[in-house]
């Protein structure tokens, strides 16, 4: 038992540096994908809340279609498909595009719900005070919407982290791919996958905790 444990720990120790380099790539893909998703999601949410019907239709169609395509298919379309059009993307860029496009659709709905959830009365109060549309939104609606938006967005962030592992299929050396390769070279696949799993869990917990703390801070500041 102890011998076994020691040998597993030894194995883990020797692969940890490689896994950590993989983790950096995982975080890179996650960060880039999230950034694209947030920006695109916010734009789409703006479309959905717009008074122009055309914009609302565009956003609705985008969200409905993209949501029903598996991320893996989007990834292959970005990585292989765009290449056919002469737009060759690297693995990381493809992953950014695929994750960004997909999660923009989900975040759009979260953002829209958060903004609409802030009572209509708040908007009216802002208008009554003579705040313009923009400053009414930025100073009154948005700060309240943030608290509704954060928890479900954290959820999506964790999904992005997990889905970033799909790049194993296009040969990007992220955490998942490194554990897959290591499992083939060591013939100890379970040990390698468990280590990768622990790192994924740790990454998620750290991020969730950080966001949770920020959320609590915001809430506390507002009583």
């Amino acid at each position: 038992m102890t011998v076994q444990l020691a040998s597993i720990l030894g194995l883990w120790g020797s692969y940890l540096p490689s896994f950590m380099r993989g983790l950096v790539i995982t975080m890179e893909i996650t960060g880039l994908g999230l950034a694209v998703a947030v920006v695109l999601g916010a734009i789409l949410a703006g479309f959905k809340l717009s008074k122009f019907k055309a914009l609302r239709v565009i956003a609705t169609v985008y969200v409905d279609i993209i949501r029903s395509i598996p991320v893996l298919v989007l990834l292959f379309l970005a990585y292989y498909g765009l290449g056919q059009l002469g737009l060759t993307l690297s693995g990381i860029a493809s992953a950014t595009a695929a994750l960004g496009a997909f999660y923009a659709a989900l975040l759009c709905e979260i953002f829209r719900g958060g903004v609409q959830g802030v009572e209509r009365g708040q908007r009216e109060a802002a208008d009554a005070l003579g705040l313009g549309r923009v400053s009414g939104f930025v100073r009154v609606i948005l700060p309240q919407a943030v608290l509704r938006i954060l928890p479900p967005s954290t959820n999506q962030l964790s999904n992005i982290i997990k889905d970033s592992s799909l790049v194993v299929t296009i040969g990007v050396a992220d955490l998942m791919a490194r554990s897959y390769e290591a499992s083939a070279t060591t013939f100890e696949p379970m040990d390698m996958f468990v280590l990768a799993g622990l790192i994924y869990m740790a990454l998620y917990l750290v991020i969730a905790r950080a966001i949770g703390r920020w959320e609590l801070n915001v809430q506390r500041r507002r009583g």
Partner: protein, 214 residues
């Protein structure tokens, strides 16, 4: 063009496998998930803790890592699960974790006053669940259940990696033989859009009906 029609046909054959896996895993997951949620909410403490741990593990790990653990990982212990069954078992285990959460949230969403009213009337726990709590939770859970089926269907895309001949498997085969990734993955996307769209549509109809009934 003919290559594309050829592989579209193959992908549609793959769709049968995809749907088979989705439907089977959905049924198993929903049954196990309902039982798990009851255990999570009303079971003894150790059971609650175990189910909590299970759900968090399933939700915390990347899907593909879970599949690899089942298919490749277990070989380390001499357990050799055939690809199709590894895929199916994984979809069930994964789905159960998510289904537990859906049922738990659904059951917990019923206000305490409803439980109290059933107790005050002298209904048994079983009757209260059956006549009052579950019929209400069910309506509230329908949107999440629709999403659940869509999620399981999307998950099946990963099983090509271990050699199960689903839509993606044939798509990749077609791409490597024809060199037409845009068209073939585009068609794959279209098939998924139709399948998921149908599921959402059916879910929407059920929701509407449930809303009218109550």
């Amino acid at each position: 063009m003919s290559a594309i029609t050829l592989y579209t046909g193959a992908m549609l054959q793959g769709a049968v496998i995809t749907l088979e896996l989705t439907a089977g895993a959905t049924v198993v997951s929903l049954i196990a998930g309902a039982a798990g949620a009851v255990g999570r909410l009303y079971g003894p403490r150790t059971l609650k803790a175990f189910i909590f741990g299970y759900v968090e593990t399933i939700r915390g790990l990347p899907a593909i890592l879970q599949l690899f653990i089942l298919y490749f990982g277990l070989t380390q212990f001499g357990i050799d699960v055939p690809a199709y069954w590894a895929a199916f078992i994984w979809l069930c285990l994964y789905g159960t974790g998510y289904a537990i959460e859906i049922f738990r949230a659904g059951l917990q969403g019923i206000p305490e006053g409803q439980h109290e009213a059933t107790a005050a009337l002298g209904l048994t726990r079983f009757e209260a669940m059956r006549r009052v709590i579950i019929p209400q939770a069910w309506v509230a859970m329908l949107p999440a259940l629709t999403n659940f089926v869509v999620l399981e269907l999307k998950n099946t895309t990963l099983v090509y990696f271990i050699g199960v001949q689903d839509i993606m498997f044939h798509a990749r085969l077609g791409v490597s033989n024809s060199g037409q990734p845009l068209a073939i993955y585009g068609i794959a996307a279209l098939i998924y859009i139709v399948l998921n769209g149908t599921i959402s549509r059916v879910g929407g109809i059920l929701e509407k009906r449930a809303a009218i009934a109550s």
